[in-house]
């Protein structure tokens, strides 16, 4: 990990290594309860592939952190197995799992220097002296902190502390690195910078990373795959694009990105498209409905897929008359709050150039493609 040439680095950037599908971690029917009554994690089945960046995303209390703690060895599953490279590790204490862990508040040791912090895991692996020094320096260089080894953690900024925690978790070449909301304490700009940085290091070294966050945009930016947790279950496990474009249920549709979720009923099919009836009786062409449920359905429609009627909307299947309730200027785009389908509220995000003329109270025509209207049964 110490000598990676610039060319190799460029190569990595241009064509991210496609990981061979090889299982690093497997959760098999894992359950966890703290009080013996309610399950924090219900019947978890999840595999993490070697070399991938997997994010566990969910609101607080969804079971994602508990899952991470079980993998790290700080919590024991109530039932089920956790396999690390094919071996069950439920009974293995954390110090023998060979897993790097980056904690929410970094958990740097305040009484040690940065170099001592980073060198800490090496001492328990029999690496001492010049070799330990070299590896510590390499790790610090990798996170762009070369030369700050003699500082105390308290003398570093939040972002630098975050980098030290990362270097410390990587320096001993662990099998995988776990991160528990590592960027939560940083301001927005630094957080976005670190997202890119962590992803860069992960891809460069080909490390398997399991990342926990409640920030959906962070998950979309960084991950190879995302597991959306809610109420102790994985709601959907897929790559970011699929997760955004094809949410499998109402929770995922609402949790990932801005969305309009409107209730509707099944009305039939036409030309291979589903037709649903909205609250006020309007019919809408949709895609995605495959189940048997006929009532209590939901249409998911992204704000940016709701377009103003015009040349671009000619081939769109759906026309939606609406009334503007509110308009928010966001710079490049304008966010419109609309009333349509009787008294339903919709949010549309249109380019600023088109939305500039829209004023509250205006009646306007909106349109959308059937492919962007996703019917969800759950």
């Amino acid at each position: 990990m110490n000598t990676i040439t610039l060319e190799r680095w460029r190569l990595d950037e241009a064509s991210p290594t496609i990981p061979a599908v090889e299982t690093m971690v497997a959760f098999e029917r894992v359950q966890k309860t703290y009080d013996g009554r309610s399950l924090v994690v219900e019947d978890l089945n999840l595999t993490v592939r070697r070399g991938e960046f997997l994010t566990m995303l969910g609101p607080s209390g969804s079971g994602k952190t508990t899952t991470l703690m079980m993998l790290g060895g700080f919590e024991q599953p109530t039932s089920g197995h956790i396999l690390l490279e094919g071996k069950a590790v439920e009974r293995l204490p954390p110090e023998r799992r060979d897993i790097g862990f980056v904690f929410q508040n970094y958990a740097l040791f305040p009484h040690m220097t940065v170099a001592e912090n980073v060198g800490f895991p090496l001492r328990y692996r029999g690496i001492r002296g010049a070799e330990a020094k070299r590896r510590t320096e390499d790790a610090l260089q990798l996170v762009k902190l070369a030369g700050l080894g003699e500082r105390r953690p308290a003398q570093l900024s939040g972002g630098q502390q975050q980098r030290v925690a990362l270097a410390r978790a990587m320096v001993f070449n662990p099998k995988l690195i776990l991160m528990d909301e590592p960027l939560g304490a940083l301001d927005k700009q630094l957080r976005e910078h670190m997202q890119v940085e962590i992803r860069r290091i992960q891809q460069r070294l080909g490390i398997t990373m399991v990342y926990v966050t409640h920030d959906q945009s962070e998950a979309l930016t960084m991950s190879d795959r995302i597991a959306v947790f809610h109420e102790g279950r994985i709601q959907q496990l897929s790559d970011p694009v699929t997760l955004y474009d094809q949410p499998e249920n109402r929770f995922v549709a609402g949790f990932i990105g801005d969305n309009n979720t409107l209730s509707c009923e099944f009305a039939g099919t036409e030309n291979g498209l589903g037709v649903v009836r909205m609250a006020d009786g309007t019919l809408l062409f949709t895609t995605g409905h495959s189940g048997q449920a006929r009532s209590n359905l939901t249409v998911s429609l992204r704000p940016e897929r709701l377009i103003l009627e015009g040349p671009g909307s000619r081939s769109a299947e759906n026309r939606i008359p609406a009334r503007v309730l509110d308009r928010t200027f966001l710079g490049d785009r304008v966010r419109l709050t609309l009333e349509a389908f009787g008294s339903e509220r919709l949010v549309a995000s249109v380019p600023a150039t088109e939305g500039a003329a829209m004023l509250p109270g205006n009646r306007i025509g909106m349109a959308c493609f059937a492919a962007d209207c996703l019917t969800l049964a759950r």
Binding site: G73, F74, E95, G100, N105, P110, F120, Y124, A154, F172
Partner: protein, 416 residues
């Protein structure tokens, strides 16, 4: 030229700004001072001033000056080699006649007796003999009362104590004394008790500190890890003794430790011992009772530091490969150091001043510095000695405090 002017202007502006700031903040400072004033006055009047005044009696030396003014004046011309001249004896008789009327002779005798054993009776016999001295010469008549009156050493002591301050009490408190010529030397072994008492005081305080740390650290650790409801209950148990009077707790230990007390009865009943153990009036009993009383003072600072150590620290250490004991020793324990130092300092300093517990639970060999101070004040009425010992204790306490402060201060910086 322009530049110089510019600099000057900026310097003026800075100083004007500083003055403005001071002016603006003055009302706040005055208000803060006014609020603290009652407490400050109270402390100075009732605490700082009396104690300061009391401590000066460690060097105060008024008796000889007050009672023997003429003798002192007459001794001014004495060379210190032989028995002083007749004028000195005449002055002494005059001074003591006045002292007899004023009832101050006994105080003088007592004071001089500290310097040289037998002085009190010598003075008193002269006082009793006052009417019976014939005219001249007085020196042989004095020598007839006690041959020591002819010795220049005796007169040297009187002359030396004419000074308004004396190093006598302070020197004695560290087992030093002055010989007749005034040079400092160690006192005889039979008289040298105070360093022994000081050493004993430090040793007992040290034992108590170590014992409270050994018992308190694990307790604090358990409380810091316990769920909040359990933790507050445990904390209540720790604090409970503090709400009971010190005297009551000490008396409870007397009840427990006495020869026919609960502990001995229990040990006998359980067949663990065959005869009653001497627990009361021993060093063991003293240290046990003091440890019990001091325990909360050690636990609380350690606990507050432990509570501030994030849970993630141990987890991080273990995730990085440190087995639990190593993680504790290398990561957790060093971070508790400020609390450990503060707790130990508190207990050590408080233990140095213990009085009632050693007095009730300890034997004669377990009495600490405070007991001797009390004895000098209450029984011997020797305030000079009491003040000197108090000074010694105070200096000891302050220097230990400074040493701790430096150690812990340095550690703080290291702890970041």
């Amino acid at each position: 030229m322009t530049q110089t002017l510019c600099l000057a202007t900026s310097a003026t502006r800075t100083s004007r700004l500083g003055a403005a700031l001071r002016r603006a903040e003055r009302p706040n400072r005055l208000r803060a001072f006014a609020l603290a004033l009652p407490a400050l006055v109270f402390l100075i009047v009732t605490f700082a001033a009396p104690i300061g005044l009391f401590l000066t009696s460690a060097v105060r030396n008024s008796e000889v000056r007050a009672v023997l003014p003429q003798t002192v004046a007459a001794l001014d011309g004495w060379d210190g080699r032989a028995t002083p001249g007749e004028d000195v004896f005449t002055a002494l008789v005059a001074d003591l006649s006045r002292a007899k009327e004023d009832n101050t002779a006994a105080a003088l005798g007592k004071r001089l007796n500290y310097e040289s054993a037998g002085m009190r009776s010598r003075i008193m016999s002269v006082v009793r003999h006052l009417g019976k001295f014939s005219q001249e010469p007085l020196a042989p008549q004095f020598a007839a009362l006690d041959p020591v009156w002819a010795s220049p050493d005796l007169w040297a002591i009187i002359k030396r104590n004419a000074s308004p301050v004396t190093p006598y009490y302070l020197l004695t408190s560290i087992d030093l004394g002055q010989d007749a010529a005034g040079s400092v030397r160690q006192v005889e072994e039979s008289q040298a008790v105070f360093l022994d008492i000081l050493g004993r005081t430090l040793w007992i305080a040290g034992l108590v500190t170590v014992a409270t740390l050994a018992l308190g650290f694990p307790t604090a650790y358990v409380i810091s890890l316990a769920p909040s409801r359990t933790a507050s209950f445990l904390l209540l148990l720790v604090l409970l003794p503090l709400w009971t009077s010190l005297l009551v707790r000490t008396t409870a230990w007397v009840v427990l430790l006495q020869t026919d007390g609960v502990i001995n009865q229990a040990l006998l009943a359980l067949g663990l011992t065959t005869e009653k153990l001497q627990l009361i009036l021993t060093r063991f009993g003293t240290v046990t009772a003091m440890t019990h009383i001091q325990l909360p003072f050690t636990i609380l600072p350690i606990l507050s530091v432990m509570k501030a150590i994030p849970e993630g620290q141990m987890r991080a250490a273990r995730s990085l490969g440190a087995p639990p004991l190593f993680a504790f020793w290398r990561v957790y324990a060093p971070q508790t150091l400020p609390g450990v130092a503060a707790g130990c300092l508190m207990t050590f300093i408080l233990s140095l001043g213990y009085y009632i517990t050693p007095a009730l639970v300890g034997g004669p060999r377990d009495q600490m510095m405070s007991n001797f101070i009390a004895t000098y004040i209450n029984r011997d009425l020797n305030w000079g000695m009491a003040a000197a010992l108090a000074c010694l204790l105070l200096v000891m306490t302050l220097s230990i405090y400074l040493v701790f402060l430096r150690l812990v201060g340095a550690d703080r910086i290291k702890l970041g």
